[in-house]
Symmetry: D2
Amino acid sequence: MLSSADANHPALVRIPTWVHEKLSPKAVDYIKRVHYWVETECIPAEPIVKAQLAKSGRWKTPAIIHELRAKAKKEGLFNLFLPKHFGDLSPGLTNLEYSCCAEIMGRCYWAAQTMNCHAPETGNIELLAKYCNEEQKKKWLLPLLNGDFSSAYSMTEPDRASSDATQIACRITRDPNDPETLVINGRKLYGNAMWNDDLQVYILMACSDPDNPDAWKRHSTVIVPKDTPGFKMVRNLSIMGYDHAPEGHGEYLYENARIPASNIILGEGRAFEIAQGRLGPGRIHHCMRLIGQTERAYELALIRATDPKKKPRGRLIGDFDSNIERIASMRLQLDSLRLVVLNAAHTMDVHGNKAGRYAIAQSKILVPATAAKIIDECMQMYGGQGMTQHTPLPEMWTYARFVRIADGPDAAHRHQVGRDQLKTVGPIRDRHDGYQKRYKELCEKWDVDHETIVGGAL
Amino acid sequence: MLSSADANHPALVRIPTWVHEKLSPKAVDYIKRVHYWVETECIPAEPIVKAQLAKSGRWKTPAIIHELRAKAKKEGLFNLFLPKHFGDLSPGLTNLEYSCCAEIMGRCYWAAQTMNCHAPETGNIELLAKYCNEEQKKKWLLPLLNGDFSSAYSMTEPDRASSDATQIACRITRDPNDPETLVINGRKLYGNAMWNDDLQVYILMACSDPDNPDAWKRHSTVIVPKDTPGFKMVRNLSIMGYDHAPEGHGEYLYENARIPASNIILGEGRAFEIAQGRLGPGRIHHCMRLIGQTERAYELALIRATDPKKKPRGRLIGDFDSNIERIASMRLQLDSLRLVVLNAAHTMDVHGNKAGRYAIAQSKILVPATAAKIIDECMQMYGGQGMTQHTPLPEMWTYARFVRIADGPDAAHRHQVGRDQLKTVGPIRDRHDGYQKRYKELCEKWDVDHETIVGGAL
Amino acid sequence: MLSSADANHPALVRIPTWVHEKLSPKAVDYIKRVHYWVETECIPAEPIVKAQLAKSGRWKTPAIIHELRAKAKKEGLFNLFLPKHFGDLSPGLTNLEYSCCAEIMGRCYWAAQTMNCHAPETGNIELLAKYCNEEQKKKWLLPLLNGDFSSAYSMTEPDRASSDATQIACRITRDPNDPETLVINGRKLYGNAMWNDDLQVYILMACSDPDNPDAWKRHSTVIVPKDTPGFKMVRNLSIMGYDHAPEGHGEYLYENARIPASNIILGEGRAFEIAQGRLGPGRIHHCMRLIGQTERAYELALIRATDPKKKPRGRLIGDFDSNIERIASMRLQLDSLRLVVLNAAHTMDVHGNKAGRYAIAQSKILVPATAAKIIDECMQMYGGQGMTQHTPLPEMWTYARFVRIADGPDAAHRHQVGRDQLKTVGPIRDRHDGYQKRYKELCEKWDVDHETIVGGAL
Amino acid sequence: MLSSADANHPALVRIPTWVHEKLSPKAVDYIKRVHYWVETECIPAEPIVKAQLAKSGRWKTPAIIHELRAKAKKEGLFNLFLPKHFGDLSPGLTNLEYSCCAEIMGRCYWAAQTMNCHAPETGNIELLAKYCNEEQKKKWLLPLLNGDFSSAYSMTEPDRASSDATQIACRITRDPNDPETLVINGRKLYGNAMWNDDLQVYILMACSDPDNPDAWKRHSTVIVPKDTPGFKMVRNLSIMGYDHAPEGHGEYLYENARIPASNIILGEGRAFEIAQGRLGPGRIHHCMRLIGQTERAYELALIRATDPKKKPRGRLIGDFDSNIERIASMRLQLDSLRLVVLNAAHTMDVHGNKAGRYAIAQSKILVPATAAKIIDECMQMYGGQGMTQHTPLPEMWTYARFVRIADGPDAAHRHQVGRDQLKTVGPIRDRHDGYQKRYKELCEKWDVDHETIVGGAL
C-alpha cells in the first residue's frame, strides 16, 4: 500500500486505490521519476522543439530530443515498456504499472520518444524480439533497443479496405534469376517518413503468395532498408493539416525494390501470425498516453476557467454554472476512461493478451472518441484562441482524433465486439427459457392463470 | 484468486479481475447463492407478484413476497447489506463484495426486498443503528432488522427546492401545554405509501427551530408512527404513470399531528448531522442494482436480436450491422459503469465513505443516465412490443429514470463535482507557471527567442 | 400576409414567416378558433377527464368528451383534417394550414378527438373514403365522419417483424361450405380496445392468399365488426405502464371469426395498395401534434424556471446559466423541428404525398426522438415532481416515445432514406469525375505536376 | 414557380419548395451561373491554388485567384452579396436568393473570394457603405467593391473576454501636440495577415474614451492603413494547425501607431453603433457556405460508400446497415439545417435584420456544430485517409469548427437566446393561471373534488 504522501503525489493521485495497492515500490519510483522527467525536461521544452524544427526545415530530429534521449538513457528511463521476458533489458514493470508511466508520458507529445517508448518503436521492438532469428536481432533489434536508429511499420494501402488486411496487394516476388533476392512492387500509406535521417528500416507486410488457398498464408513480413533502390517516398501525408515532422507519415512507392530473402521475418507466408501478436499492449499504451494528454488539456481548462483576465459579463468563466457542469462532466468521463484502460492492463497481466482482447477493444473504442470530445470542450473554453497555437489544444485534439482511426475505425472494433457478444446468447437464452418453465410451476402453486394475466411478462 | 469455474460462473463472469482477486471465499459463496435465489425464486415469480397485486387491490404486500422473505431469512440471505459494525447480525461483506450481490439483486425489481436489502429500509436501518438510543432501537430498529414491519423516509416538500434541504419548512413545535409533545404541520412528498399494512413508521425531517442563526441546526429528525392522528396520505404519487404498489410514493399532510418528544432522534436540531451519514453506500447499492437490471435488459436485447421469429427483410435483427454496433456500444458502456461503481465501493472500503464522495458522485451521475439510454435502446430493438407489458423493459427504464432524479437531479451533483474541481486549480496553476519559468531557461540554453517564436505555446 | 396582430397571436407567433404568407384568411380563422377551443375547453378539462375515467372504471368515454365532441361539431370544428376532395364535408384546408391546427390540438392529449381529428380515425376515414364502395361507405364511413362510433386499425402481429408487412400471417379463408363467408384466425397486437363502447369496427389486414407468387398480393383488408363471434380481446397492452384508456391498445385473438365477403375493401389481395395510401399525411399530423405537446412541456419548463418558490441556493432555476442554455437548446431544436414538418406539409401540398415521402420520413425520424429528449429535459427541471402526476410531463414523454416506434422503428425509416440516398450517387460521381478531368487541364495550363503535388486532393 | 428542369437542377434540387416559389427568374439564373462557376472554375482548381501557394512561399495570392477574380467580374459574378440599397452595383438579390448562391460558393473554400463575396470583405463593405462619409467611401469603399485591394477587421484582444466587447482595451489617444492625429497602442488577435500584398487597410475597434460613464460609448472604429509605422504583425495565428494562407489570421502590435483623425468612422465613441449593424446577414452567409461545404463532404461520403475498390469483408462500405443509417442521418440533419438558415434569410427579408435576430442565432448555434459532426463522420468513412490531404475533409472540418467559435462561442449565443426566452414567461404564466381558474369552474360543473383527485395536474 502506498504511503499517504505517495498516494497524493501528482503522479499518482488520480490512480484508483485498487491500482495503488498493486504497484511495487520499484514501479512507484519509476512513476515518480517519469513524472519529474516529463514535467521538467519535456513539457517546458515543447516550444524549443518547434523552434528547432522550423529552423532545420522540419525533417531533422531536433538537437534537444537527441540530448534528452541520451540523458534519459543514462538515467535508466529508456525502454521502460519492455516486458519482463526481455530479462535484464526490462525494468520489470507489469502492464498495469507501465500504464501509469504511459499516462504521464502522454502529457507531452514526444516525451515517450525521449524514453524510447514511442510508437511504432515499441511494437516493432516487440515484433522483432519475438519473431527474428539471432542474426536479424543483432542487425535490427539491438540498435532499436539502443536507440541508434528508428524504424517504421508499413501495412496500409490505398484502394484497399484497410480494416481487412487480407486484401493487401503490394507484391513480393522472387527474382527468377536470383531466388535469394526478393522484388517488391506496390504503393503504401503511412509509416514514418524516410526524410528523417534517424529512420533506417521499414517492416513491410506484403503479398508473397497470392494464390495460396488459405488467405491467411498469402502474406510475408520483411525488413526493407531505407536506402533500397526502387523504394521512394512520394509525399508526406499530413494529418488534419499537421505534418507531424520530423517523424511524419509517408506515402511510399515500391518499384522493383530488391532486398535479400534473409530479410524475411519468421518465414514466408507468416505475416498474419506476426501481425496478431503485435497490437495488444500497444493499443493500451496509446490509450493511456491519450488520457495523460487529455488530463493536461483539462488542466488548461481549469486554468482558463479561473483566469482573472477573462471575465465575460464580469464573472470568471468558471463562475458560470454551465462551465462548472462541463468541467464536472469532463472530470467524470476522464476518470472513467482511466478505469477502463487500467482494467484492461491488469486483465492482460493476469490472463494474457488474448484474454484481454475484449478489454483492449473497450479501451480502443471508448478512449479516443471521448478524449477528442473532452479536448474539443477545453478548446471551446479558450474561445478563438483555443484553436490557435496559443494553446497546445489543437494538436492534442488531432492526436486523439488520429488514434480513433489509427488501428482501424472504431466501427470495425465495435463490430467485432458486437459479433462476439451475439455468440454468447446460447446459455442466456437457456436461462431465460428456465424462467418460463419455473414461472409455470409457480402459476400452479399460486393458482394464477397465465393465459389471462394482464400484468407483464418476464 | 477465484477458481476458473467460479470466475466463469454467470454471477461472477462480468466482475473485473481485480475485484475477483479481492473477494473472500465467503463473499463468493454469498454471491452465488444470491444469484441462485434471484434466478430461481424471484425473476420467474414476477408475474405472480403482479397477479396477486391486481387481485388484492394493489396495496397489500403479495403473499409470495411474504413467503420469500421468510424463506430468505431462514436461508441466511437476510440483511446482507449490514456493514461489519453490526457484529453478528452482519454477514461481514465489504462494500465491494456486497456490491456484487446488489448487482444481482437488481435483476428483479423486488428481489432486494425479499432479502431485506431494499431502499429505503437499508438507509433507515443504518440511520437508526447509528443515531438512536437503546430504547428507540428496541422499538424501531430491531423490528426492521427482523423484517417485522417496514419504514419510510420523508424529507422532500412541494414548493421548495429539494436539492436544498435547508429550505425544508414542515414545522415541528412543542405543545405549549405539554412540552413533551411535538406538534407537526406541513406537506411532504414521497416516502412509501401509508396504504400498505406492513408500513409502520416514518422518519421525518422537519424544521424545529426556524430562527436559529445556523441554518444547519434548524431541523430535527423524528419518528412518526403511521397511525398518528392528523397525519394522512393525500394521494399516491405515480412515477411515469406507475403506482409502484404496494410500496408507492405518498403525498402527505401533517395537520397538528402529535408525537412524543422521545421520538426525536439524536437530539433537536441535529437533522443535518443525521442526513450526512445516510446516503453514501445507499447510492452505490442503487447504482449496482441498476446495473444488474440493465444487464437483464441487455440479455433481452440479445435474445431478441437472435429470435428466429423476427426477421425483417429476411435477416435476424442481430444480422444488421447497425444492431451489432448498438449491442457492442451497450456492452462497452455497461461494463464501464460497473468499473466506476466497483471502484467507488472499494474506495469507500479502504478510505471511508467521506473519501469516497467523489467516486460516489461519479457513480450517481453516470450510471442512471447511461442505464436509461441502454434500456431505451433495448426497448427499441423490441419494436412496439418493447413499450408494452410483453417485456419488463418499460418498468426498467422508469426505474433508471427515477434513480437519476431520486437523490437530487444529476445537474446538482455535477455542480458539486465541478465546484470541488475548480478549487484544486492552485497547485495546477503553480505547476504550469513552473513550465513557463523552465521554458525561459531552456530558451537561453538553446538560443531561442521566445518573443518571435511562431510555433506554439505550452 | 397576416396582420401584425394575427402574426403575434399566440396561435401563430411561432409559425415561420413563409408559412404566414401562405395561410388563407379562412385558415387563420380556423387556427385561432382551434387555439381558443384547446386552451379554453380542453386543457383545463384534463383532470376532469381523468376523474371521470377513474370513476367509470376506465373503459367508458368520459361524459365531458362526449359533450365536447357535440359542441365542437356544432361550432364547425369537426373533421378539420378532411382534404378538399371530400367536398362540402371538408373545411378546405391545405396540409400546411391543417398542420398549424394540428400543432395546437397536440397541446392536449385528447383535443384532436373532440374535433374528430384523432388517430386512427383520420387514417381510417381517408382509407374508407378512398377505397370503399358506396354501400360500404354508407355503413362505415358516414358514421365515422358523423362521429357516431369509432374504429380501429389492426395490422401488427406478435412473432413477426412488424417493419415487414409481407410477413403478416393472420389467415383469412373462405368457408368451403359458404364461399360468401370469410373465416379469420390469428393473433393481432394493437388497435384500440374493444372494451370501449364507442368502438364498433376493426379494419383488419390479413393474409388471404399465402401462395400467391407475388408477395404484395397475398393480403386483403377487411372490416370486422366488434361483435363478431370468435373475435376477442385478450388484454389491453399498456404503453410504458399507461393503459391509454378509454381507447387503449388491445391484444386480439381471432378464432374462426366469421364475416361476410362483402366486408372486403377494394378487392381480395389488394391490402398493400390500400396500405400505401394510408400513412403520409397522418404521420405529419402526428408530428405536428407532438410539436404542440412539446411546446406545452417547454412552457412548463419556463414556468418552473421562474417559479419564485423554487430557489435552490437562493437563485431561481432560470438564473443558472446551465438552465438558461438548456432552455435555449430546447427552443432552437423545437423550432427547427417545426420547420421540418411544415416543409413536408407544403411539399405534399405542391407535389403530392409521394413526392413528399422523403420530407415525411425526415419528420418521422427527427421529431419524436428530439421531442422525447426535450420533454425529458423539462421533467428534469421539475426534479422528482416532474415524474409524478403533479405535471403532465410523464404522459407527454410517453406519447413522444410511442410515436417514435408507432409506425415502425426510426432505424427502419433511416434505412429507407439511406438506401434511397445511395442510389443517387451516379450523377454525383460523374460530377466528381469531371473535377478530375478539368483539374488535369488546369495542371497543364498552370504547369503543375499533379503527380508530386504535396498539397491536397479534390 | 420553377420549371421542372430548374427544380431538379443540381444547384436547386435540395432547395425546399417554398423557396423555389420565391426565387425570381433572375435569381434562378444567378444560382445556376454560380453553380457552373464553382463546379467548373473553382473546385477543379483547388490543388492548383495549393501548388501556387507552396511555390510562392504561401503569402502571395495565387495567380489563378487573380485571374478568376478578373474573369468573374467580367462575367457579372462580382459582389453578388450587395443588398438592393447599393443600387446599380447590386444584382438585387434578396437574402433568401443570395443564400442559395452562398451555399454553392461554400462548396469550394475560396470560391466566394473569386466573386468578391468573402468574409471579412462583405461585412467590411457593408460597414463602410453604411457609416463612411463620401471621402472615406472614395478612398476605401470603392476599391473594395472594385476588388483592387482587400481589408481586415480587427477587434479581438488577448487577455479580454472576447464575448464582451466593452472590455476592449487597445487605446486610441489624440496626440496632445497634434489633435488631428490619433495614437494607437495595444495588441490584437485575428484580422487577415499583413503579409499578403493585396491587403491594405484594417478596420480597428479600440477604446478612445475609457472614462465615459456609458460603457457603450467608450470605443471608436477607425481605419488603419497597413503601412502605418508602429503597426506590426507579430505572427500568423494558425487554426488547428492551418495557416489559412494567403489570408491568414494575424496577431498584431500597435506601438504608437499614428493615423489621421479623419480615419474615424461615423464619429468618436460610436463603435458599438457600427458593430451592431455588421453581423446579421454575414452570419447567414457563413452558415450557408458551411452547408454547401458539408454537402460536398457528404457527396464524398456517398462516393466512398459505393467505391468498388473499398470492400471490407467483401461488401461495399455502403452495404453495411450501420453506414446506411449514418448516411441517412447526415442527409436528414443537413437538410434540416438548410431549412433553418433559409428561414432566417427570409425572415430578414420580410421583417429586417433586427427581427431576424433569433433566427440568425438559431443558424449560428445549430449549423457549425452539426456541420462539424457530419464532416467528422464523413472523414471516418474514409478511414485513415480521411484525415490526410488525400481528401479535402480535414480542411472542411476545421472551417466548420472555426465558424463555431468565430463570432463568439455558441454558449454565448445560447445564453442570449435563453435569457430572451425567459423574459417571455409573463403571458405564458397568465395563460397557465387561466387554465387553473377554468379548471375549477369545470370541477364545479362536473362535480369533481379537485383536492382529492388522484389523476394528474395541468
